[in-house]
Amino acid sequence: MTTVVSEDAIRASTAAPPRRRRGLAPVWLLLPAAVVLGALFIYPMYQLGLLSVLDFRQAQVSGGQPTHFVGAGNYAQLFTDPQFWSVLIATVIFAAGCVLATLAVGAALAVLLTRISRLPRLLLSLAAMAAWAVPAVSGSTVWMFLFDTDLGFVNQALGLGGFNWMYGRYTAFALVGAVVVWASFPFVMVTLYAGIEAIPGSVLEAAALDGASTWRTFWQIIVPMLRPVLAIVVIQSIIWDFKIFTQIYVMTRGGGLAGQNLTLNVWAYQQAFAASEYGLGSAIGVVMMLILLLVTLLYLRTLRRTGEPL
C-alpha cells in the first residue's frame, strides 16, 4: 500500500508541471479564435434568441414604445400560421431538389474533368468559374431576360412566344432551381474534382484490372473514398439551398404570383423585416437555425454509422 501511494505521489510531483503547461497552452492557442467566434457568432445568436422572445418592432427600436417580454408569443404566432407550414414544406422540397440536382451535375462534371484532355478541361473549368463568379442578382436578372415572356431568347428559340414561365408554380420553381444549380454546381465540381485527383492511381488501376465498369468504380471506389469531401459539399449545399433568397426574390418578384413561390427566407423578410417586426423575424431565424442544425447533425450521424469516422 505504502509503495503505491509513494509511487502516485512521485508521479504526481514529476508529471504535474509539464501537464499543467500542456493544459494551458491549448487555451491560449484557442483564445484568438474563441474571441472572434464569440464576437461574430455567440453574441449575435444570443441577441437573436433574446429578440425572439420580445415584442420588438420599429417603435421599440426607436424608443417610442417600451419593449416587453412576450415569451413564446412570437413562436406561437409562427406555428399557428398555416402559411408558415406551407412555405416550410415548399422550401424543404425545393431545397432538396436543388441539392440533389447540384450534386448530380457537380459530380458528373467532376468525373468528366478527370477524363478529358487539357484544353477542354480548361474551358469547362473557366465556364464553371464564370457561372460561380457572377453575382446572384446579376445572374438571376440575366436568366430573366433569357426567359422573358415576349422578348426572351428561349421563348423565341422554342417558339413559345407569350408563355410566361413565372405564371405556373412548378415552372417558376423549376426555372429558379435551374439558376440555383447553375450558380452552385461549380463549387461541388471543383471540390469533388480535387478529391478525385487525390485518390491514388493504383487503387483505380486495381479496380480496372479487376474489370470494374466506370459506373461501378464510381459508386464503389470513388464515392466511399470521397466520403469526407462529400460530407462537406452536401452540408454546404443543404445550408445554401435552404436559405435561398436572392434568386427567388429577384426572379419571382418577391415570392411569385399570389406568393406561390415563397421560400422561408423570402417569407421571413416579407413578414418580419420589411414590416419591421424584428421579434417575429428573429423567431423565424431561430427556427431556421434549429432545422439546419438538426439536418446537419442527422446527416453526420448517418455518415458516421455507415463508414469510418470522419
Binding site: Y43, L51, R57, Q58, S62, G64, L257, A258, G259, A274
Partner: protein, 420 residues
C-alpha cells in the same frame, strides 16, 4: 488565475451589452433651439432630379438671406432605401436631419416610432396654413396630431388613346361598365393590344374600384368591397389583359405598356406624364377621371403624395419650421409644379397651375370629387410589406381562389395587422 479574470471581465462586458439596443429620444429644446448654424434637410431623390435641385437651391438662397448665420445642408435620399434611412435617423438622433420629405403612406409607421414632431401650432401660425384642404390635412394627421404639411399630391386617372378610340368609334368611358366594354372591343379588334392595362400588383389601380363600390381596406370582405374587387379582376382576363401577361404586373409596368402603345387605356398618375410622353403614345392620348359604376361619377382615387415634416430630435425646430413653411408655401409649390409636375396641395397654388395647364383638369376634378387613403395605422406598413392586397388580387385573377375566399383571407390578415 489570470485567464479566469480575463473570462470574468469578458463576461461582465457581454452582460452589460445584453439588452437589445433601444435609443432614447433626446428632448427637443423648448425655446426653439439655436437660430444659427446648419439646418439638415432630407429630400427624396428622383429619376430626373436636376429641376428639383434648382428650385431647392433658390429656396435655400432665399432662406439663408433672411436668416444670417445659417447654412442649409440638403441630402437627397433614395426612395427605395428610405425606410432604412429613416429608421437609422430615429435610432441615432445625432445624425438625424431637421426637415424631412416623406411619403404620406409612411406616416403612421414613423409616427408610432415617435420620430416626427407635432407641427400643428406652426401651421396654425402660418399665413398660408388655412389654404390647405381638409383631405390633405387629414392625410398628415395621426392620432390628432399634425405631423407634416402635404407638399404635393399625386392622383391617378384614366389615360386613353384618342387615335384608337376614334378609329374604333369609341367614346371616353363614363362608367365602369363602359370602360370594360370599350376595353373588350379594343382587344377584340386589335388582338395584339390590351384594352386597359391592369396588374395584379397594382393596388392603387384596384382600390378605386373597391372604394367606388362602397368598400374599404379595413372591411375588404364586405359585399361592397367584393363587388368592387370583382369588377377590377374581371379586367384581368383573356378578353382584355390575360392573366398570363397581366396577373403579376406592377403599376410601373402598366405605365410601360401604355407608353409603348401596347395598351389602349391605363390607370396612370399625373406624375406619369413624362414617361408617357417619352413613348409611342406621345401626342395621341387624353385623360379623363377614372369613372365610377354610376354613369358620370368619379371613382375615389388614392391620394398619394409627400409631406414635409420636422424630426422630433431636431435641435433647431424654430429654424426648421421657417424653412418648412418657405418650401411648402405657394411660391415654391408652384415652382415645384413647373419643375417636376407635382400637384400643389395649397388651394391657391393648385388653382393657379390648373388655370395654366389644361392637362391637370381631370386630376384636379378627381381630387375635387374626393380622395381616399390607406388606413392611418402603423399596421399598414406590415400589410403593405407582406403584399396582402396584391396577393388577394392575384389569387382571384389567376383563379386560385374565389373572390369570397381571397377577401376573407386578406381581411383576416388586415385585421391581425391593424389590431396589433
Amino acid at each position: 488565475m489570470k485567464s479566469r479574470l480575463a473570462v470574468a471581465a469578458a463576461l461582465a462586458l457581454t452582460l452589460t451589452a445584453c439588452a437589445p439596443s433601444t435609443s432614447s429620444p433626446s428632448s427637443t429644446p423648448s425655446d426653439g433651439g439655436a437660430r444659427t448654424g446648419t439646418l439638415k434637410v432630407w429630400l427624396f431623390d428622383e429619376p430626373n432630379r436636376a429641376p428639383k435641385e434648382k428650385v431647392i437651391a433658390e429656396a435655400v438662397t432665399e432662406f439663408t438671406a433672411a436668416h444670417p448665420g445659417t447654412t442649409v445642408d440638403i441630402a437627397y435620399i433614395a426612395v427605395d432605401t428610405r425606410s432604412a434611412r429613416f429608421k437609422g435617423a430615429f435610432n441615432d438622433p445625432a445624425s438625424a436631419p431637421d426637415v424631412v420629405e416623406y411619403g404620406n403612406t409612411d406616416l403612421p409607421e414613423y409616427a408610432a416610432a415617435g420620430g416626427l414632431a407635432d407641427i400643428g401650432s406652426t401651421v396654425t401660425g402660418w399665413s398660408e396654413g388655412a389654404d390647405l384642404s381638409a383631405d390633405a390635412k387629414s392625410s398628415a394627421t395621426y392620432e390628432g396630431k399634425l405631423l407634416g404639411v402635404p407638399w404635393y399630391v399625386g392622383v391617378r386617372a384614366l389615360y386613353y388613346r384618342t387615335d384608337i378610340f376614334q378609329e374604333l368609334g369609341l367614346k371616353a368611358p363614363t362608367s365602369i361598365a363602359e370602360l370594360t366594354s370599350s376595353a373588350r372591343t379594343v382587344r377584340q379588334k386589335k388582338p395584339d393590344m390590351f384594352g386597359v392595362a391592369v396588374g395584379g400588383k397594382y393596388t392603387y389601380a384596384a382600390m378605386p374600384f373597391v372604394w367606388d363600390a362602397g368598400g374599404d381596406i379595413t372591411a375588404i370582405n364586405s359585399a361592397q368591397a367584393r363587388a368592387g374587387l370583382k369588377s377590377y379582376t374581371d379586367l384581368i382576363a383573356p378578353d382584355n389583359c390575360p392573366p398570363q401577361n397581366c396577373a403579376d404586373l406592377t403599376g410601373g409596368k402598366t405605365v410601360d405598356l401604355f407608353a409603348s402603345g401596347k395598351a389602349a387605356m391605363g390607370i396612370l398618375g399625373n406624375f406619369n406624364r413624362a414617361a408617357v410622353d417619352a413613348g409611342a403614345a406621345k401626342g395621341k392620348y387624353a385623360v379623363v377621371p377614372l369613372p365610377g359604376s354610376k354613369p358620370g361619377s368619379v371613382a375615389p382615387a388614392f391620394a398619394g403624395g409627400n409631406n414635409l415634416g420636422i424630426m422630433k430630435n431636431s435641435q433647431r425646430p424654430a429654424l426648421a419650421a421657417d424653412f418648412l413653411t418657405l418650401l411648402a408655401g405657394k411660391k415654391y409649390q408652384t415652382k415645384m409644379y413647373d419643375a417636376m409636375g407635382n400637384l400643389p396641395t395649397l388651394k391657391s397654388a393648385s388653382d393657379e397651375v390648373v388655370a395654366k395647364d389644361a392637362f391637370l383638369k381631370p386630376f384636379a376634378d378627381t381630387i375635387a370629387a374626393g380622395t381616399k387613403f390607406v388606413p392611418l395605422d402603423p399596421g399598414w406598413g406590415k400589410i403593405d410589406a407582406s403584399a396582402v392586397l396584391p396577393t388577394m388580387i392575384e389569387k382571384v385573377a389567376t383563379g386560385k381562389a374565389s373572390v369570397e375566399q381571397a377577401t376573407d383571407e386578406a381581411a383576416q390578415q388586415i385585421d391581425a395587422a391593424l389590431t396589433k
